[in-house]
């Protein structure tokens, strides 16, 4: 078979690989073993595994927005890929940071906590930058625009893992009534069948043929959907899985297509068939490049056609390496030595015979003491009797310390584990969700029993038949493991280390030190040493750490317990999590029917909730916001202005008990209110604090329409609905949001009436016919229009409610009929200024959830004779009626040339120390402040303790540069206190 050649760069040098190679496979193909530097000590590191569990071989992909910490054992190469090693300077071979290794005897567990205590000023400016520069992994990626998407699935059964077990489970479910999703992390199915020669034949067929046939069966089954290159990362409650699909495997990213798909899956049943992970053994310098897990070595042979080394030394405590030895021999190579910790009598005869037949040096009851070399292994030391050692030259050491069921997802689901003395590992015990574990993840390492297990565990499903399978297994059926976590270190040098966590540079000595220092609980020890806290979550080492700690504590491992495996199973890109909720889709956007007109007239928009509201309109390109707002507000006071108020919440309330309902919801009394009149109303929470405000229009006692603040619309509707349904279920009342059903325009100013008369020529706007706070419905543009005489500026004003379909036409007509009147469109900022000049409050600006109507001097809005309303009881509490509460007042600077900043403190002190040395009594804060073009000075509102008593007095407002401005406390009404303009 001719492989397609691919050229890529690693650290500036071009390498040749085969199509389908991972970076690691391609580098091993080129005999490159040194691929990175370690996190803390900058020790040389190589390729340890052949999959997602890799702790060492993390690289940076330069041509993918500088993506850091990519596992070289997972990422496939493609033409033109540029890869760089991490955490080294100036080069991988000669890294200045490796000085940390020389200093490593002092960098033991807890070094940071104990060393960088003081001085305090060093924390941020010295220690943090220094530690960040010398330790760490890759550099953060440059900014880029994500194209990741989210895809939702609802299925009956999810099968996690498309290895032998997953395929058998899928085969059993093919053609049934169940919607099944089969998820495989690799781009091909088969798992162990494609990674080794452990199984020779399945039903007398070559495993590859069997996989192909099974795949075809699955493909033809309409009830099974398949996801490849997809890693299940999270198992949430309730049977909610999150899986990440890489769409750009083995090809450059296409910015027009999603490179990552985050699958969000809801299922009734989860079948975990995600296999097992081989674990290592700790010994001196077990981190040197050239040390690799045995099963990974074999996987490189069968998955990628790469033999990482022709004569490695094999070190094990079980019989699983039989197939590796056999594979090497079949390829014409052979191991340099076989080192087994077990007694020869306990080693299966197939292994012993294979070694003898091929003259492979066999060290039984022996162990690797350590290995030596500078940037990669040059030799290993075998301890074969108590104190006798032999040194063998080799460039590769294959290690197998046993297997752990891949329990991460199972424990994420809150399933409980139990210790298995025969397998020497934790395996699933009690499920918490609808989880089924099959195959090696359930601790069933015997291939012969797989079909029996699947048939038994899936027997509760309806309409499925038992399957039978015949497996021809090569080598020992069982793997008879002997416990071994660490070999004895001969302590040849201070710089020789026996690692337990390769990614976080945690040594077995650190574990011992942590226990000595009192961290004898596994969760404490984990945090003190950072063991298993890397991005690999200690996949190949966490159980080993428990084994070592149990020996130190002289406890059983099951008593030591496990640490918590947290989602995600492997790191996720932030872009995948964000999906399309970024940039233009960061938040849904709402627009009013007048939006196109606003754009055409240079509106600058403000986000209010999800609405885009005109903030101000630029008359010319260089006009500043201040200039625009001053211009707009002056024009409203002198002529007229129009505001697009379509975003205001609008609620229709109807029912036999609508009057009683509205009397309870708002503080005002509506009983004596005449039909077709309106009233400014306040809504309180049960705590008596102002929740919202608006105008209530009474059509009749059974029918009302209210307005709410833009931001509060949804909450007010929910509040009304909740009370109607849960507190007063006997009331006959219904509420509908009609916010979207009407566009609303506010026209105000001395010329407002003239404009209205011109636009609606058939309506009499005479004050007697159409007085302040009344409304009526009229026919207009073959539709209906409702006009309310009300104002939020203090000027003569009208609110027009019209169907959104006719809104833009009316808006443009208003301008047409305003020729010669100087009508100005104004935005929210001008609206804020105008209402502040008049002393009108804005909920959320003058209120903050701690302000009552009394504090706002709005006690006139409380229906004193009303039997009840929400918040009434709270308004008679002693602290609510206290005269020392903060009350709303107005402020005017004594020197009219000064401006007052919103949010600043109100104080009695004339001067402030710089820096402030003693506590200063804060009387209150500025809630609103604007420069009034009408008054030609700043006007502000503030909440001040006992404010009403302070009217007429002089106080001081702090400034952001620690000065103070003397101000006069006045009533919060700066323009037209007699409301002459309002009702004119």
């Amino acid at each position: 078979m001719i492989e397609n050649k691919i050229y890529f760069k690693f650290d500036g040098k071009t390498f040749e690989g085969n199509e389908g190679d991972t970076i690691a496979a391609a580098l091993l193909r080129n005999n490159v073993k040194l691929v990175g530097r370690s996190f803390k000590y900058h020790r040389p590191r190589g390729i340890y595994t052949c999959g997602i569990e890799e702790p060492n071989a993390l690289v940076q992909i330069i041509n993918e927005h500088n993506e850091p910490n990519v596992r070289a054992t997972v990422k496939k190469i493609y033409e033109g890929m540029v890869v760089k090693s991490q955490n080294r300077w100036p080069s991988l071979k000669r890294d200045l940071g490796s000085i940390n290794n020389l200093l490593s005897p002092i960098f033991s567990a807890g070094f940071y906590y104990k060393t960088f205590m003081g001085p305090k000023s060093f924390w941020k400016n010295v220690y943090e930058p220094l530690i960040r520069r010398t330790a760490g992994l890759g550099k953060p990626p440059k900014e880029f625009k994500s194209k990741s998407i989210h895809l939702q699935h609802n299925v009956d059964i999810v099968i996690v893992g498309g290895g032998l077990t997953g395929l058998l489970a899928a085969k059993k479910l093919a053609g049934t009534k169940y919607d099944v999703l089969l998820i495989e992390r690799e781009n091909s199915f088969g798992g162990i069948l494609k990674s080794s020669k452990k199984i020779k034949l399945i039903n007398d067929q070559d495993p590859n043929d069997w996989i192909e046939k099974t795949e075809r069966l699955i493909h033809n089954s309409s009830n099974i959907k398949v996801l490849r290159n997809t890693l299940v990362n999270t198992y949430n409650f309730k049977d909610h899985l999150i899986a990440l699909e890489d769409k750009s495997v083995g090809k450059p990213q296409d910015n027009k297509k999603p490179e990552l798909v985050l699958h969000k899956i809801r299922t009734k049943q989860t079948i975990l068939a995600n296999g097992h992970i081989e674990r290592f053994i700790s010994f001196r310098n077990n981190d040197l490049p050239g040390v690799m897990l045995a099963a990974s070595f074999e996987k490189y042979i069968y998955r990628y056609g790469v033999v990482p080394d022709e004569s490695p030394v094999i070190f094990t405590n079980n019989s699983s390496t039989f197939s590796l030895i056999k594979s090497l021999i079949d390829l014409g190579h052979k191991p340099k030595a076989y080192v087994d910790i077990r007694d020869p009598k306990k080693i299966e005869k197939e292994v012993v015979e294979l070694l003898a037949k091929n003259n492979i040096p066999f060290y039984a009851k022996s162990e690797i003491e350590g290995c030596d070399g500078k940037n990669e292994i040059k030799s290993v030391t075998i301890r074969f009797k108590k104190n006798e050692t032999a040194k063998i030259k080799t460039s590769m050491l294959c290690v197998s310390g046993g297997f752990n069921p891949d329990i991460h997802l199972f424990t994420q689901s809150k399933g409980l584990l139990k210790w298995d003395e025969n397998l020497i590992t934790f395996k699933p015990d009690k499920i918490f969700q609808n989880t089924i574990t099959l195959g090696s993840v359930s601790g069933n390492f015997s291939y012969q029993n797989i079909m029996k297990e699947i048939n038994e565990k899936l027997s509760f499903l309806e309409g499925i038949n038992d399957l039978d399978i015949k497996l021809d297994i090569e080598g020992p059926v069982n793997f008879h493991i002997k416990e071994l976590w660490e070999t004895k270190n001969a302590k040849k040098s201070l710089w020789s280390k026996s690692f337990i966590d390769l990614q976080n540079d945690v040594t077995t000595k650190d574990l011992k030190q942590a226990v000595t220092e009192g961290f004898n609980r596994i969760e404490h020890l984990k945090r003190f040493t950072t063991n298993s806290m890397g991005t690999d979550q200690g996949k190949i080492s966490s159980i080993n750490a428990l084994g070592i700690v149990s020996k130190i504590l002289k406890k059983n491992i099951s008593d030591v317990g496990t640490t918590t495996y947290r989602p995600p199973y492997a790191p996720l890109n932030f872009s995948a999590i964000a999906g399309r909720s970024t940039y233009e889709f960061y938040d849904p956007v709402r627009k009013t029917p007048i939006h196109p007109w606003h754009i055409k007239h240079n509106a600058v928009f403000e986000d209010v909730g999800q609405w885009k509201r005109p903030w101000y309109y630029k008359k010319y390109t260089n006009e500043t916001m201040h200039e625009a707002v001053q211009r707009e507000s002056k024009q409203v006071r002198e002529a007229a202005g129009i505001l697009d108020g379509s975003t205001l919440g609008k609620i229709e309330i109807k029912g036999k008990d609508a009057l009683a309902f509205i009397n309870l919801i708002y503080t005002n009394s509506f009983t004596k209110m005449k039909p077709m009149t309106a009233r400014y109303a306040l809504m309180l929470g049960e705590d008596g604090m102002v929740k919202d405000d608006g105008i209530v229009c009474k059509i009749n006692d059974q029918h009302f329409i209210t307005t709410t603040t833009t931001g509060g619309a949804a909450n007010v509707l929910a509040h009304m609905e909740e009370y109607a349904q849960t507190e007063w279920p006997d009331m006959n009342v219904y509420v509908n949001s009609i916010t979207e059903q009407f566009a609303t325009f506010n026209i105000s100013g001395p010329k407002a009436k003239t404009i209205m008369e011109r636009v609606f020529s058939n309506i009499d706007f005479n004050n007697k016919k159409f007085p302040f706070m009344t409304f009526n419905n009229f026919d207009y543009l073959n539709s209906k229009v409702r006009i309310l005489r009300a104002s939020f500026t203090g000027e003569q004003g009208y609110e027009i409610y019209i169907s959104p379909k006719n809104a833009l036409t009316l808006w443009e007509r208003i301008f047409y009929y305003s020729r010669g009147i100087n009508l100005v469109p104004y935005g929210t900022e001008t609206m804020h200024l105008l209402r502040a000049e008049k002393g009108y409050i804005i909920v959320g600006q003058e209120t903050d959830g701690t302000v009552t109507p009394i504090d706002l001097n709005l006690d006139w809005m409380i229906g004193k004779n009303k039997k009840d309303f929400i918040g009434k009881r709270s308004l008679i509490r002693s602290d609510i009626i206290s005269s020392e509460r903060k009350q709303l007042v107005g402020l005017i600077p004594l020197d009219k040339s000064y401006g007052i900043e919103e949010g600043q403190h109100i104080i009695e002190e004339k001067n402030l120390d710089t820096p402030i040395k003693k506590p200063i009594k804060m009387l209150g804060h500025v809630t609103s402040s604007y420069f009034s073009p009408t008054l030609n000075h700043c006007v502000a509102m503030a909440l001040i303790k006992g404010g009403n008593r302070k009217i007429g007095s002089q106080l001081y407002v702090s400034t952001s540069d620690l000065n103070v401005i003397p101000v006069e406390v006045v009533k919060p009404n700066f323009i037209d206190p007699k409301n002459e303009r309002l009702v004119s």
């Binding site: 939702q152 609802n154 709402r590 229709e652 169907s803 379909k805």
Partner: protein
């Protein structure tokens, strides 16, 4: 602006429709008032919908119904119906004609929508002649299942955003 969105195995057509949102007890009087005007009895099961050539009538919650006009009516007729429904003091009828509608059809419609909503669209969970109120592209939407097609409605203020999301989901 009305638009048609096309993708492999799927078509989305924006439509203009009128709607009245009804609140009430759903008792015999309620049914009689409605039936008198539109010759349809309101569905009694939650999330059920019935339709004829002219109307789609869906029960959105225990006391809420959507009456959607599948064929356009003069606005005066809508106001007449609103007036007739509202003549009973125990019924609230609101004009909901300012709503945006999309008709989604084609064999890939479920796959397409799975990019935008977590809602379970499988026929065993979302049978024909039922409706759902759920989040689609992170906004509140109603989805009516006609079997061969869905009718999707959302607030008109979201129209531009929603159309951009539809196009984006097609492109990706």
């Amino acid at each position: 602006m009305t638009r048609t969105f096309l993708a492999k195995g799927m078509e989305i057509i924006q439509q203009d429709k009128q709607q009245i949102l009804l609140r009430g007890k759903g008792d015999g009087i309620f049914a009689d008032i409605i039936n008198k005007e539109v010759s349809l009895l309101p569905p009694t099961d939650n999330l059920r919908m019935i339709n004829n050539d002219e109307f789609l009538f869906a029960k959105q919650s225990f006391d809420q119904w959507a009456l959607i006009f599948l064929k356009p009516k003069p606005e005066k007729e809508i106001f007449r119906l609103l007036s007739a429904f509202n003549s009973n003091e125990e019924i609230l009828a609101s004009n909901y004609s300012n709503t945006t509608y999309f008709e989604i059809s084609g064999e890939n419609k479920n796959h397409f929508l799975s990019k935008l909503t977590h809602f379970d669209l499988r026929s065993k969970k979302f049978p024909v002649s039922t409706m759902a109120q759920t989040l689609i592209a992170r906004i509140d939407c109603c989805l009516y299942n006609f079997g061969d097609r869905y009718l999707l409605s959302c607030h008109s203020s979201f129209e531009d955003y929603f159309k951009d999301r539809l196009q984006d989901a097609i492109d990706l």
